[in-house]
Symmetry: C2
Subunit: 356 residues, 2 copies
């Protein structure tokens, strides 16, 4: 495939144009075939590009004055889809001039605008927000949905599993993903009816390129034993924030403990390399990039507070999803599942799982 | 009130009779007016009591051979309510010979047996499991429900708030509890219809002895800014396990970091007092004791893997709930809320919130 451009909402995020442009430039070092469309205040973008001559050559600037603010209601932002940097970046994906868009702006607005402009892909009822989380092993774990859909039925969950698995195969270089549904126990009788039905459908779907292992409990998400954790947007958001909050809680306690006496202060200095390693592992900038899966186009959400390295990771993920044709991979699995259902003749799975 | 006895299921938990008896004996040092009914294998209980003469004098033994196992289905355990140590401990609360029961056994079985034997108190539709979690401040935070009810409506959530607030006033010595509903955002439009309706009902209920502060997100549970976190059993279980798993994740990383080089090993030894402080704070044995709220009687679940100190904390919580009449406090709030609804005349709250 030809490598299309990536649209960057240069105005979103807490740290502004400079961090977005530097981040994209950093990512470009690994993905030097990519071109960019930088959307936002032309003057400030030009200034930020001064430090990155290679990036400047690979970039076109699309000027606009209007910006979606961080606390703006999605419904209000939607009305300015044609004037804001976020809206215009998405628009570039819709009209085909870019293959993907990256923004560090308002998540709700990004989701709402992307949904309206790009629509869900055939066979998917609802898009989902997926993120990479650190584990005890080398590889990250993908969790979805993280807040786009508060109520999900079995069919939504199966579609999330298919989308998450496709994403995982790309970031884990083809390895068959181990997929589980987030639940409050691992026995088959646990959880809601929708969870149990989704588990049954995934167990029956043998042709899918994933290894479905039933349920996972929230304390096992980051043990490295699972590649894709599938859940509804409400529970996913709760789990994600509980994990982030608890990690911060422990590191805050640690900080307090290390400053509680002279002896512990000395200990801290001596063990600095060890605690730096921990800090590096937990730093969200090293796992940055939420992806909206299931749309006709790739939309990546960078953390609002991400630094240039964080933005670079988000842009690098975007580039890999484009190189490896995420959307095509999801389509292929949906078709496989549909064919399997037809072969099973009247199992009703085509209606149960695939969008009508 | 007279101080009644506490029934102890001496057979539940991973560490057996000795830990349960030692734990109860430890708790008795602070609560020396309490008597105990120790239920289980008489010979082993007698042996365990040899080390605790004070405890032996305060205890009666109820012998039985049968034990509910850790992985047993609640439905199966229910049939042996009259022969198992867990069932007989609950039975002692039902017939009034004890005011409360403590068990470290199978949570599902304990919940099912307690519900069937004790029934929910007037005005409560469903009991809830509440636990104490550590925060950055001195006091713990109470979270409920943690798995007893996977589907909850607005009325259940309001009742959980009332029960959690009563529990909080007891453990926090009368301080007005700050109560919040767990949600995926703090704006009033966030979350399910039931959450929004529960928030409205709690905002309107001015006579309740709590300060209702709207929503809390899962990353703020342990910041010390809230005393009672109210949620349905599914989300509560996800949040609790995500918090536990994430804390273990960070401490595992820390352990790995501290053993990664000679320098960091030295650093670890020097900073030992600091890391011991952290360990103490995170040790679940220091926050042990899940309470089933809303039953006609107090049932406390000690962690299956708790050591003697953990069991002692669970028994101490039980003693305080009895001393301070938890059940009466919940009743009083339910009546207040009912009166307020009657005064508001036709607001429908009596039907919406109170059990019919």
């Amino acid at each position: 495939m030809s490598l299309p451009r990536i649209a960057v909402d240069a105005m979103g995020g807490d740290h502004g144009v400079r961090v977005m442009v530097s981040g994209a430039a950093l990512a470009r070092r690994q993905h030097d075939k990519f071109k960019f469309l930088l959307v936002g205040d032309e003057e400030r973008i030009k200034k930020a590009l001064e430090d990155h001559p290679g990036m400047r050559e690979a970039s076109e600037i699309l000027h606009c004055d209007d910006v979606v603010s961080g606390d703006e209601k999605p419904s209000r932002a939607l009305r300015r889809a044609k004037t804001t940097s976020m809206g215009l970046a998405i628009q570039a994906v819709k009209d085909g001039s870019c293959g993907a868009a990256v923004s560090a702006g308002n998540t709700g607005a990004l989701m709402a605008m992307s949904k309206l402009a790009l629509r869900t892909m055939p066979g998917i009822d609802r898009p989902a927000l997926a993120a990479l989380l650190p584990t005890l092993e080398e590889h990250d774990v993908i969790m979805l949905d993280l807040g786009a859909n508060t109520d999900c039925d079995a069919r939504n969950l199966v579609q999330f599993a298919i989308m998450g698995a496709a994403y995982s195969r790309i970031v884990n270089k083809g390895r068959t993903p181990r997929v589980r549904l987030l639940n409050i126990g691992t026995e088959s009788i646990k959880g809601t009816d929708d969870l149990q039905r989704a588990a049954q459908l995934l167990r029956d779907a043998e042709s899918l390129d994933m290894q479905f292992d039933g349920y996972v409990e929230a304390d096992k998400i980051n043990r490295g034993e699972v590649d894709v954790v599938v859940t509804d947007g409400f529970s996913g958001n709760i789990a994600l924030k509980a994990i982030e909050g608890s990690a911060r809680f422990v590191t805050d306690l640690l900080k307090a403990a290390f400053t509680s006496s002279l002896r512990s202060k000395v200990g801290f200095l001596v063990s600095r390399p060890a605690t730096e390693l921990l800090k590096h592992h937990l730093d969200p900038n090293n796992h940055n990039g939420g992806v909206f899966l299931g749309l006709n186009g790739v939309i990546v959400k960078s953390h609002g507070s991400a630094n240039a390295q964080g933005v670079a990771n988000a842009v690098a993920v975007t580039a890999r999803l484009l190189e490896d044709d995420l959307t095509d991979r999801i389509s292929a699995d949906l078709i496989k599942m549909g064919e399997e259902a037809l072969a099973a003749n009247g199992s009703g799975m085509d209606e149960t799982v695939l969008g009508k």
